[in-house]
């Protein structure tokens, strides 16, 4: 009787702790948004006027339509690119796999603002690539508008898909795919009727993530969308207005975004309701050796995808070495941008590293446990936890940051001005990556292995640690990687949370951009990029895994 209670308590404790975290760091700070959205700005009384407006005003209706377009487009593009890349790298022997993975990580970094600017420099109205192409008679439209936004989303978010699905693709039960072939199904068709259904958890999670990231991203539509307004830009405009803002409406738009993403989460859960496709993890697919034309084609495809994704970052690296005079780039190269930043860069570097590592360690531990709950203990409590965890993605970081200041400004929770509050914000904003990635990976690991460990005398907790954790390591790693890279690059919430002592690299970059100093911004971005890549590989090294074991 006694022992039963303990077992019951292990995961119940985790559940309670998870809810406590979500309540403290999410619901409580953000309750102000919901409240604000329900209050009429003029009269200060309860009213649904904002919601009524959202669904009646033409501009908002268009924004809703555009949001869906951007979300679905970005999702589709990212899925196509990410799954293709994952498939190529897990199933074929590709030369330079580590390089491809590195470039994917680089693509994930996508320096704030300056990354989007790089697209304009390349494909804008007077973009270099566009001009070069038109000089050889190839005219392509400038990147502005819906198509550009979707394109950029696809290239920006595919690394998430790549990271999540790679692990799944590599862990499929080989015999099942072989069975399909022996029944006469050609490999490409098998992909759609067997392979993808089997990794549905991973695919649907990455679809969900990229959809939500696409609908929540306001930077890209703002910079290259031009007239392509989406809910996120509308909310951001209303919220960040220097003059005459409308916090009620902004909050209402955020709430709509939140509801939208929750619906998608529930849809994903519904899709997976019957999913019990465990792999035995013994007969994993082998990487095929390919030759000739096919090999060339696969290499070109893989490298094109990652290079395109990493293009903004690469451009930024290039910019960092250009000569500048004030905000203006001059012909020729120099290290002057680095000289300008070198003396002041060490604080932000250490802050960024410390905050990110602290947050990511917490994320990996709690994300793994929460992922387990979500995937193995389906219940109303875990289901709603799952849905709530999507909120941090869609709530603009600045809203989150302000909410944090409001709630954590006074004792006993007076954290403002400390590094801790930045860690907390990063933690809650990046937690879902880990939780979801783990949940998806767990869907492939049958419980019978855990049962086996239990039958050999391990408590469920230990069995989880000794058997399940190593088996879902690719999922944990993918989640940790996404959390870490995005934590290193977290800007919008830190921007309102930082003080002089706690400035981080992305904030430094943003401030340079604001000053119009794109040269120094590029230099800082390059430093951040290098740090990220080094930290990622350092972490792999420390954890005793080879880079190639990433996937």
């Amino acid at each position: 009787m006694m022992t039963k209670r303990i077992r019951f308590e292990l995961w119940t404790c985790v559940l309670i702790a998870a809810w406590a975290i979500v309540f403290l760091l999410l619901i409580w700070p953000l309750s102000s948004i919901l409240k604000a959205s329900l209050i009429d700005n003029e009269t200060g009384t309860f009213s649904l006027v904002h919601y009524v407006e959202i669904f009646t005003l033409k501009a908002y209706q268009r924004a809703i339509g555009n949001t869906f377009l951007a979300g679905l487009g970005g999702m589709a593009g990212a899925l196509i690119l990410g799954v293709t890349l994952a498939f190529i790298t897990t199933r074929f022997r590709i030369f330079g796999r580590a390089l491809i993975q590195t470039l994917a990580v680089v693509a994930l970094v996508s320096p704030p603002f300056i990354g989007a600017y790089a697209w304009i420099v390349l494909f804008g109205a007077s973009g270099v690539v566009r001009k070069a192409l038109s000089s050889i008679g190839l005219s392509i439209p400038p990147i502005y508008g819906a198509a550009g936004v979707i394109l950029v989303f696809s290239l920006k978010f595919f690394p998430h898909v790549f990271l999540i699905t790679s692990g799944a693709l590599a862990a499929i039960n080989r015999s099942v795919e072989e069975a399909a072939e022996s029944l006469g199904v050609p490999p490409w068709k098998r992909l759609f009727i067997v392979t993808f259904p089997l990794i549905l958890p991973a695919i649907s999670v990455s679809a969900l993530l990229t959809f939500v990231l696409s609908i929540a991203d306001f930077g890209t539509p703002r910079i290259i969308g031009r007239d392509f307004n989406v809910l996120a830009t509308e909310a951001f405009n209303l919220f960040s207005s220097e003059v005459g803002g409308n916090p009620g409406m902004a909050s209402a738009l955020s709430v709509v975004l939140i509801v939208l993403s929750m619906i998608v989460v529930l849809a994903q859960r519904w899709m997976l309701r019957k999913n019990v496709y465990y792999s035995n993890l013994i007969k994993k697919p082998e990487r095929q050796r390919v030759r000739g034309l096919k090999a060339t084609g696969l290499h070109i495809l893989a490298y094109t995808i990652v290079l395109l994704g990493a293009l903004p970052a690469l451009i930024v690296v290039l910019f960092s070495f250009r000569r500048t005079s004030g905000p203006v780039f001059q012909p020729g190269f120099s290290l002057q941008s680095y000289e300008k930043v070198i003396s002041t860069v060490s604080d932000p570097i250490w802050n960024t590293l410390n905050f990110s590592f602290a947050a990511v360690i917490a994320i990996v531990i709690s994300g793994t446990l929460i992922g387990y709950l979500i995937s193995r203990r389906p219940s109303v409590a875990t289901g709603s936890l799952d849905a709530l965890l999507m909120i941090p993605y869609v709530v603009p970081g600045i809203v989150m940051g302000i909410a944090f200041i409001t709630r954590f400004n006074d004792p006993p929770l007076a954290f403002t001005g400390t590094g801790f509050i930045i860690i907390l914000a990063v933690y809650i904003r990046r937690l879902p990556y880990s939780a979801r990635s783990v949940a998806a990976a767990l869907k492939q690991v049958g419980p019978s292995l855990e049962d086996a460990a239990v039958s050999l005398g391990y408590s469920p907790g230990k069995a989880f640690l000794k058997v399940t954790v190593p088996l879902i390591a690719p999922g944990i790693l993918a989640g940790a990687l996404m959390s870490f890279v995005t934590a290193m690059n977290e800007l919008s919430s830190s921007l309102v949370l930082y003080v002089g002592r706690t400035i981080t690299m992305p904030v430094r970059i943003y401030l340079s951009v604001m000053d119009g100093e794109y040269g120094t911004a590029s230099a800082l971005s390059t430093i951040l990029l290098t740090m990220t890549v080094i930290a990622v590989y350092g972490a792999f090294h420390l954890s005793g895994r080879k880079e190639s074991a990433l996937l």
Binding site: I282, S448, L449, A453, V454, S455, G457, K462, L471
Partner: protein, 357 residues
């Protein structure tokens, strides 16, 4: 060491009733085998005993103490899984050492036991291989070694030898039996191999559709089945329809007195192929029949003859057949069914009377 008592155990998956009120008592140190058709609930029963799923009703008592309230890892039950469930990320040796580490045995003891267990399953030399580099049967043996190594109070084995060749299966089952006996581990064994069940078990439980049909020693199960299902399931059995009329059994055109059967109604006469005498005469009371040899199946040390008779198809067995055995096909021969070796079952499948009491 451990006596196991199961009372009124029932389990359903949603609306499918998989186990219906199972009652069993297994003596301490006994080697107890579950035998039954595919899908009858053997795995479900084992998993419930091991604690991986919870029964809907009933209780499981070990050494007088209810264990079904304990979590699985506290039950000290070793299990060999039907799907092996070897840990793919651990080498063969690590797989076997896994359970020993949980028991925090000294390192040297762990090493000895791992070596011993691997030797037992004929996998020495494979210590540092990963399961992915092993054949199906080899993987199965890892699972077996792993469960045996921990020497639990109760050992559950779900078709532990199904993917091994006959030779190895016989060797391993002897080894399992020896160790089990030496250490006195109460064992529940699931097998679909009847010969194996008969050879190693102290007692056998024949199951069907989630119900216990008969429990008994191998000899009882084979020679004195009390249910038609058990009679038909274990070994080959001829069932010949007949009618009982006040102690007289009518089969085809023949009528014979059947001792101990004084009821009336449709019955089935059960007789094993090895008891069908392939000649016209028999020492005691018997039913003579003529049959045409329709098919001859060679099975090594013996052959089976499928005969068409007026009472239906009857299989007879001939020992050590010679090269010309196939020549029998198409011929008509005389056989007799000795009453002393036959049994009668009624329409419910219950035993009416065994030919010799």
């Amino acid at each position: 060491m451990a006596e196991l008592r199961i009372q009124g155990l029932a389990k359903s998956y949603r609306d499918v009733r998989v186990l219906e009120s199972i009652d069993l008592t297994i003596a301490s140190g006994e080697f107890f085998t579950l035998l039954g058709p595919s899908g009858c609930g053997k795995t479900t029963l084992l998993r419930t005993i091991a604690g991986f799923q919870h029964q809907d009703r009933g209780e499981i008592v070990v050494k007088g103490e209810r264990i079904d309230l304990k979590p699985a890892h506290k039950r000290d039950i070793g299990m060999v899984f039907q799907d092996y469930a070897v840990f793919p990320h651990l080498t063969v040796a690590e797989n076997v050492a896994f359970g020993l580490k949980a028991r925090s045995l000294p390192k040297s003891e762990i090493e000895t036991r791992v070596a011993e267990s691997l030797k037992m399953v004929r996998l020495d030399g494979y210590q540092s291989r990963l399961p992915a580099e092993m054949s199906g049967g080899q993987q199965q043996r890892i699972g077996l070694a792993r469960a045996m190594a921990i020497r639990p109070t109760l050992l559950l084995m779900d078709e532990p030898l199904s993917n091994l060749d006959a030779k190895l299966r016989i060797e391993l089952r002897e080894d399992i039996r020896d160790i089990q006996r030496r250490l006195g581990i109460t064992t529940i064994y699931v097998t679909h191999d009847q010969e194996e069940a008969l050879a190693v078990s102290d007692r056998i439980c024949v199951m069907d559709k989630g119900r216990v049909e008969q429990i008994g020693t191998p000899f009882e199960i084979y020679r004195h089945p009390v249910r038609r299902f058990a009679a038909g399931f274990v070994g080959t059995m001829n069932f010949i329809s007949g009618t009982l009329k006040a102690g007289q059994l009518l089969i085809g055109s023949r009528s014979v007195h059947f001792p101990g059967a004084d009821g009336t109604g449709p019955v089935e006469l059960a007789i094993r192929p090895e008891n069908v005498i392939l000649s016209g005469s028999s020492p005691g009371a018997a039913i003579p029949l003529r049959g045409e040899v329709r098919k001859v199946t060679f099975l090594g040390r013996e052959a089976h003859y499928t005969l068409g008779t007026e009472a239906g198809e009857i299989i007879a067995q001939a020992m050590d057949p010679s090269a010309d055995f196939i020549a029998m096909e198409g011929q008509t021969i005389d056989i007799v069914l000795p009453i002393a070796k036959a049994a009668l079952f009624d329409a419910n499948g219950d035993l009416v009377s065994a030919g010799r009491p």
